[in-house]
């Protein structure tokens, strides 16, 4: 055990030494940019201080003493982010974070503030690395793209938001967006061709460094008799695998992905807003922007992150610093709505289809048993659109027309059904709203 720990610390130190040194260098560059280009001497000075701080951390790491998060903090994180409570805190936490970022975007788009936040995130990641569980998951070769994706998305979201905030400020003053200022035409050779060439060189270098530095994973030869635990889909489909917890495979694996694709294709045909074409803006297309971000950042990317880093053996929810114990047992007392209704509310037994029933009797039994769930789903998918059309979406309905409105509204309802089902599962252990195993139809 002791030898394992020593080897682990050597491995972590070998990673964290260069890691902190790179951060120190980046902060030194940032100090120069903040001071001389952005004329923010105070932020530049702070960046110099941060750079020295990372140099010190690097020195500790090189010497085999990388600093880390205190055990008490890691324990607290594990307690908070484990089991059903963990799922709730993770989902509500990421949602609250995205909402907070949206409403305080004018503050976060300042380069100095964003740089500070990035430093804090990278420092937290570095300090977390001394946990073997965290290090093993984050540094797993196939998980590196996901870590990259998180940081790249953070950067590009910041970049887009800063441009959108600037354009929205200009629009308030009656000025055109920044993208319309430079209408001058230039020749593609050399400006664009050389830009493309530089990008190709940069991508090639990144790819070569990545390929030399990190071996592609290769486990032992495929064997059907040995099922790994957990068995995970490729990382980009982990959101779909997570959906399998809340929906049957026909919904999570077929219908919902098809609707995601259909919804993406439908975007240009249901977005009737003529503003915001070809330039970054949030204020001029708030509804479209928010719906897309909910779908992409909240329901796609955060579910992938969840599926990668927090789902362990038996698809149980594990804290970020918790060992993936294959014997961890979590009680799953999920109950169908029909069970709640018949047993808990009516105090009767649940009607079942028996083998001696005729087809008609079986249908009547199923309708009787699942009546409440069917009515609720009909209200949700059929009843809500007209109600919304005459209330909150009234203006939209008038401008969009019946067909476009119904397509938009149903896509929206399917999208919001996922977080609703997640919350119902975690809070009241609801499994299915309708449960018809006789024809594999559960929702």
């Amino acid at each position: 055990m002791h030898v394992d720990h020593v080897l682990f610390m050597q491995q972590v130190s070998a990673f964290l030494g260069p890691y902190y040194l790179t951060l120190a260098l980046l902060n030194a560059i940032a100090a120069a940019v903040l001071t001389y280009q952005l004329k923010n001497a105070r932020a530049g000075l702070i960046s110099v201080g941060v750079s020295f701080f990372f140099v010190i951390l690097s020195a500790f790491a090189w010497n085999g003493l990388p600093p880390g998060l205190p055990q008490s903090v890691r324990d607290m994180a594990n307690v908070a982010l484990t089991g059903n409570r963990g799922a709730v805190i993770y989902t509500l936490g990421t949602t609250a974070l995205l909402i907070a970022l949206f409403f305080t975007r004018k503050y976060w788009v300042r380069p100095a503030v964003a740089w500070g936040a990035l430093n804090a995130a990278l420092l937290l990641m570095g300090l977390s690395m001394i946990s073997p569980a965290f290090f093993n998951i984050v540094s797993k070769a196939d998980n590196v793209p996901i870590v990259s994706l998180v940081f790249l998305l953070g950067f590009f979201t910041w970049l887009a938001t800063s441009k959108a905030v600037a354009n929205d400020e200009r629009a308030k003053q009656g000025l055109p967006p920044l993208e319309k200022l430079d209408d001058e035409k230039i020749l593609v050779w050399p400006d664009l061709v050389y830009t493309e060439l530089i990008c190709m060189v940069v991508v090639t270098v990144v790819l070569l460094v990545w390929a030399i530095g990190l071996k592609a994973p290769l486990e032992f030869c495929a064997e059907r008799a040995k099922t790994p635990n957990p068995s995970k889909a490729p990382w980009y489909f982990l959101g779909l695998q997570e959906m399998l917890v809340y929906y049957d495979p026909w919904m999570a694996g077929v219908v919902l992905p098809s609707l995601v694709l259909f919804g993406l294709m439908a975007i240009p045909y249901i977005d009737f807003n003529k503003k915001g074409c070809g330039y970054y803006t949030i204020a001029q297309r708030k509804f479209a922007y928010c719906m897309f971000q909910i779908g992409f950042l909240e329901l796609w990317v955060t579910l992938i992150v969840l599926g990668t880093f927090l789902r362990g053996p038996n698809w149980n929810f594990f804290g970020p610093f918790e060992d993936w114990d294959t014997h961890k047992v979590l009680a799953l007392n999920n109950v169908n709505l029909s069970d709640y209704f018949w047993i808990d509310v009516l105090g009767a037994s649940v009607p079942r289809v028996t083998s001696d029933m005729t087809g008609g009797d079986a249908v009547i039994t199923v309708l009787k048993r699942e009546g409440l769930g069917i009515v609720l789903l009909l209200i949700y998918f059929i009843g809500l659109p007209p109600v919304l059309a005459s209330t909150v979406f009234r203006k939209m309905f008038v401008r969009m027309g019946f067909i476009r409105y119904m397509v938009m509204c149903n896509l929206l309802l399917f999208m919001t059904a996922l977080p609703l089902k997640m919350v119902l599962r975690w809070t009241v252990n609801l499994k299915y709203i309708i449960y018809i195993p006789e024809i594999f139809l559960n929702f």
Partner: protein, 258 residues
Amino acid sequence: MPSLGETIRNSQVWKSIFRHPMPVDRRNRIVVMLTNFFLHLHPVSIKKQGIALSYTWCMGGVTFFLFLVETITGVLLMFYYRPTLQWAFHDIQELRDTVSLGILRELHRWGGHAMVITVWLHMYRVFLTGSYKPPREFNWVVGVFLLLLTLLLSFTGYLLPWDQLAIWAITVGSNMARATPVLGNEGPGQQILNVGGIDMITNASDARFGLLGARIVGEETLNRFYVLHCVFIPLVVSLLLAIHFWRVRKDGGISGPL
């Protein structure tokens, strides 16, 4: 006495390939875009803001470049790889341990992951700038198909190393197909396709069987995924890319306010 470079550039062979002098003046910078096969995908001139990296992120171009990298490294990998149960895993081990320039597989695998990320970022940028709005709606739809095909390219390639990671990731991924409504053995409405009391949709005729070529992930699946990964999907992607690029030109040029 002309230099060697001048001699080559003045030779008949050079002039037969490149029909213009070096593009150092305005006229030839225009001519080069019209007469070079690879460059003629671009227009001659473009709005200055349309090439700002902070605006475009260059993610469409990077994705296309990664597709080319994947094609080249993929072809090289095909020289060493045989898609059979007997050889698949062995050949990958050989690639890792004995073949010269042992990063070929790494370049291909990480390039594939990177392509998934960059195609998402490209879609993200196009949405955030509202560049799918008229007249670019159709090109957005083509882009969604390309995004899907990128995921399928990666998914089909995932199986080829034939290790535990590969077979179980594909097993998990493809299990969902058997729950396809009507067409899946365990999907709702499976009983609809029933002739004379005989189910037409069984585990040997459903959507999952169609995807795998067998009831389980096996040699037929490996062959099927290999052909999809190396031939069919890249061909469809190439066709759609051509349409995508052509429509960029026809729909008002590179993104920007119209």
